[in-house]
Symmetry: C2
Subunit: 568 residues, 2 copies
């Protein structure tokens, strides 16, 4: 079963197609392939010609740990190029078990109704759910779980997505009903602009995967799962701190976005650190937790629930990028504040990175003060209330900066910078400018290689970015979380073995990376057709002129070096 | 004397260079050449790497009628491509008589001071004029004329330009101190972003032109002037109605933008017509006038002063585009309202077309009502007060539509549509999508050929647009007004003869058009380097899907036909 589910929001027609040729594609490789095949490259990303593609990773639904991520792709209203954003949560595995390789949402609903797409043993239907119109993501997920079962896998947009705001993300539930986000690129705006509020999937129809060689698969997967589970980093770092483990390291290298990227170190980094997060959660107890999985069967379990002083949950999960963009970047010295802002951002349905970057620009332009929680919360309420200022902010960092007249907009190719100042981690600057995804660290984060390639050096950044891009694109296609990368990069035969025993393919440990290569090649061609030219392969002006004080550096990677990052 | 005046706003240095190689270039040909030669194509148009180029037409300063226009060029913050906007007024001739081929304003002032550039027999200086900070264009011009003499040629920006709003224009004074505008492309934002409020030029140093063959020049020029002066259209149409003469014709063909381009005919067209304008001015008397020149020595004299019921001037000059964009497009049925809005738009320093398109989108999104003068005036006051909504509107139609979530944004390549619905005048649709200038009718207005090529036909539109683009680029380079075109197009030897006897060149009646061709070729290459690709050669989605009722037509020109308009 290699089904493509095609949902036309103009006509409300639903059809399924068998597409054998997509058998060896999944996740990003498949969303990018379908986008390339079907989406008119120069269409309006929020118009009727645009499509939203949802595809679980190739290994989603299997027992391989940390491999159930789901990709959401199409044309980004921020970059005007191709985009893929992936996320944990439980929907990926459920779709895969239903034999659904991808959902293609096309057309645009021109009535005022709010639709959800329901997939379960009773069939596949578009259901009007006006009760959910402009509801927050928390309420949406809670209601849908109540109606369709708490094991339902859900993807939904918040009010920001329904209103077509370009910073809108897509929320997905984890096994406990907490939210994860396919955040970047404004894919929530694409979904919302079509009139689709949510997708609810239950795998009650076929809760098992079909394997080409089940036994072999189980053997490899169990070996991987054991390696991941017993790696000391899992227990000592991931399960305690999750992604927030890197706060202090990024700060130490001078790359922590602070007050709209004016500084690369933050005097409050200790207060925002993973260590502080872990201590706080441990001390407060109650609903606070660390070491919980965002996907069933994941042995890494890096998620947390961050509680308030009374032990009530504020948000789950508090992550590095959100701490950087909603914390230091906005001048906050306190994880409680970050958690509260994060909850509100989540509920509105926004990408925390994009909105953090937008708020940073707004504060820098004097719309409120850095470090003023009430001020920032009021700005988020503007978005909720759909005021003009709210719509400006909700359209992301670039629109916010253009409207407010900023000449310090931390964005590349239309998308806000994530949590690494490119002047202090230059490999990421290369990724922001050169990757097919715009300023998105997940497309090729060079932080992990900081001991191999000098983050401030002018050499080797192009190849480093390129290599990281390629590997990440492969993981994104297979459904793997980046936290599983160490054994996979060390022994890519695990990857080829898993795919081959699932699908009957004949990948080798070398050729398995082609999944990433090929995806990026298609993405690049789409982008060229969409009008993204080498002229856009750059960072904003201030990165070249304004020295980042802590590291005494501007972004100074030569155009030749930059071009080495291109995969074509 | 072929001087380039180079003004560096970062260092406040002024230098002059002799540039013999620019001898045969002027106006648009020269602004585009310098932009091509000197401006980094992918720079931030409002950043320090951007430049503003000001060049009088090649024939400016001579006695040839209607040839004193001045071009303002550089990289547009709306289109992100090259731009040239030209205007009447008296500065063009004065600069030419000072031997100044072009002013290149570079760098960016990073202090808070307001500068003017003064050019007269005492020298060339940057003068701090903080008294003019954020002043309106009317006050600015009045004060500068008071200080530097009422014969001063002035270019200035209003508060919108100083604030970097992308719909900002550059205002120029006519012989009577009334204002004309180099409106399109947001060049006022480029000037303002550099910290330059105004340029004041007096030709007291050298009030005469140098001619290669003065006698021959005078002979040809007098012949032309006589032809223009005695053409019945001059007296019966241009001097009575000016550009507003076409309101009824555009309405009759169904191309008059009405309520954000929802309709192509307006039931109040009679009330907005040139005939009504003329009658009103004649009946009210007082300061009202028709048949006045915007440049010294122009025999066409198409300008008017539109008075209120008491005979006091409201605005000068009320033109077709402004009547269309601020009138029918906003649902108004009354020239008095249009004139009042136009005055306010002028004073803030905005492009009336861009802001009319932006207001149309805003009204369509319910920010105020169509036909509500107080509502529209309040929106303009938001711009004056520099509120967030004001900044949204002041950044033009595209930003307004993106922020407000419109899927009906009348803009191509980032620039708002002028007063011709491309579904009813398809040649102009081709120009909007294909020319180097974005949606700018002055780059190739096919209205004049409506009797030769069916405005609704699918054939011949590409070649028509191409031919018109080429000819307009030549006129823009020589400094000629479009109203002088009939004898010039009929007998291009007038053009070559004028240029040759002025400059000692050897243009023929065929090769004289190369001035336009070559300018467009450079512009196109700049645009490619700036990242404008064929993917952007299109109109907004609604033009392809939403039938314009009066003509029962969508925009349906084939890609093949569109490509015929490309000059490369």
């Amino acid at each position: 079963m290699h089904k493509i589910l095609r949902v036309n929001m103009s006509t409300k027609e639903i059809i399924t197609e068998e597409r054998e040729e997509y058998k060896l594609l999944g996740g990003r490789a498949l969303t990018s392939r379908i986008t390339y095949d079907e989406v008119k490259a120069n269409c309006d990303p929020l118009g009727r010609e645009s499509k939203l593609i949802i595809a679980p990773g190739l290994l989603a639904g299997t027992i391989a740990s940390s491999a159930g991520r789901i990709s959401i792709g199409g044309k980004s209203p921020l970059t005007n190029g191709i985009k893929e954003a992936n996320s944990g949560g439980i929907a990926g595995a459920k779709l895969a078990r239903c034999g659904i390789k991808a959902i293609v949402v096309e057309g645009k609903s021109y009535n005022e109704k709010t639709y959800i797409l329901k997939i379960d043993k009773e069939g596949i239907d578009l259901i009007v759910h006006d009760d959910l119109k402009y509801s927050g993501t928390y309420e949406t997920v809670a209601k849908l779980r109540e109606i369709y079962g708490e094991k339902s896998g859900i993807l939904c947009v918040g009010l920001s997505g329904e209103r077509g705001l370009r910073a809108a993300a897509i929320a997905l539930n984890d096994p406990f009903g907490e939210l994860k986000f396919a955040a970047r690129g404004g894919m929530g705006a694409v979904m919302g602009s079509k009139g689709l509020k949510a997708i609810v999937v239950n795998d009650d129809v076929s809760p098992f995967m079909e394997y080409h060689d089940r036994e072999h698969f189980l053997k490899i997967a169990k070996g991987l799962n054991k390696q991941l589970a017993t790696d000391p980093k899992t227990k000592d770092i991931y399960q305690k701190y999750g992604t927030s483990s890197i706060v202090k390291a990024v700060n130490a290298m001078g790359a922590l976005p602070t007050k709209n990227f004016r500084f690369g170190t933050c005097e409050f980094a200790e207060e925002l650190s993973g260590e502080k997060l872990y201590e706080t959660i441990a001390a407060r107890g109650g609903k606070g937790k660390t070491g919980i999985p965002c996907m069933n069967g994941c042995v890494i379990q890096c998620s947390n629930v961050y509680p308030d002083a009374d032990g009530e949950s504020i948000v789950s999960t508090l992550q590095y990028e959100n701490i950087a963009l909603l914390g230091s970047n906005l001048g906050f010295d306190n994880l409680d504040v970050v958690a509260r802002l994060n909850r509100e951002v989540n509920d509105i349905g926004l990408d925390a990175i994009e909105i953090g970057a937008a708020l940073g620009v707004a504060l820098d332009e004097g719309i409120a003060e850095f470090g003023d929680e009430a001020g920032c919360m009021a700005l988020l309420h503007e978005i909720r209330r759909n005021t003009v200022l709210g719509r400006v902010l909700g359209n992301g960092a670039l629109v916010t900066g253009q409207v407010l007249g900023s000449d310090r907009i931390p964005a590349a190719k239309g998308q806000g910078f994530p949590g690494y100042d490119p002047r202090a981690l230059k490999g990421n600057g290369v990724t922001y400018a050169m990757s097919t995804m715009g300023a998105d660290h997940t497309a090729g984060n060079c932080f992990g290689a900081r001991n191999e390639v000098d983050p401030l050096g002018r050499e080797k950044q192009g190849m480093l970015s390129r290599d990281t891009q390629k590997k990440m694109a492969a993981l994104d296609s297979l459904g793997f979380c980046i936290f599983a990368r160490v054994p996979l990069f060390k022994d890519p035969e695990i990857l080829s073995g898993l795919v081959n025993s699932l699908s009957g393919s004949d990948f080798t440990k070398e050729s398995i990376w082609d999944i990433g290569f090929n995806a990026i090649r298609l993405e690049r061609e789409f982008n060229i057709n969409a009008g993204i030219s080498p002229a856009q392969d750059r960072l904003p002006e201030f990165c070249y002129y304004e020295e980042l004080k802590t590291v005494n550096s501007v972004f100074d990677i030569s155009s030749e070096e930059m071009k080495k990052a291109i995969i074509e």
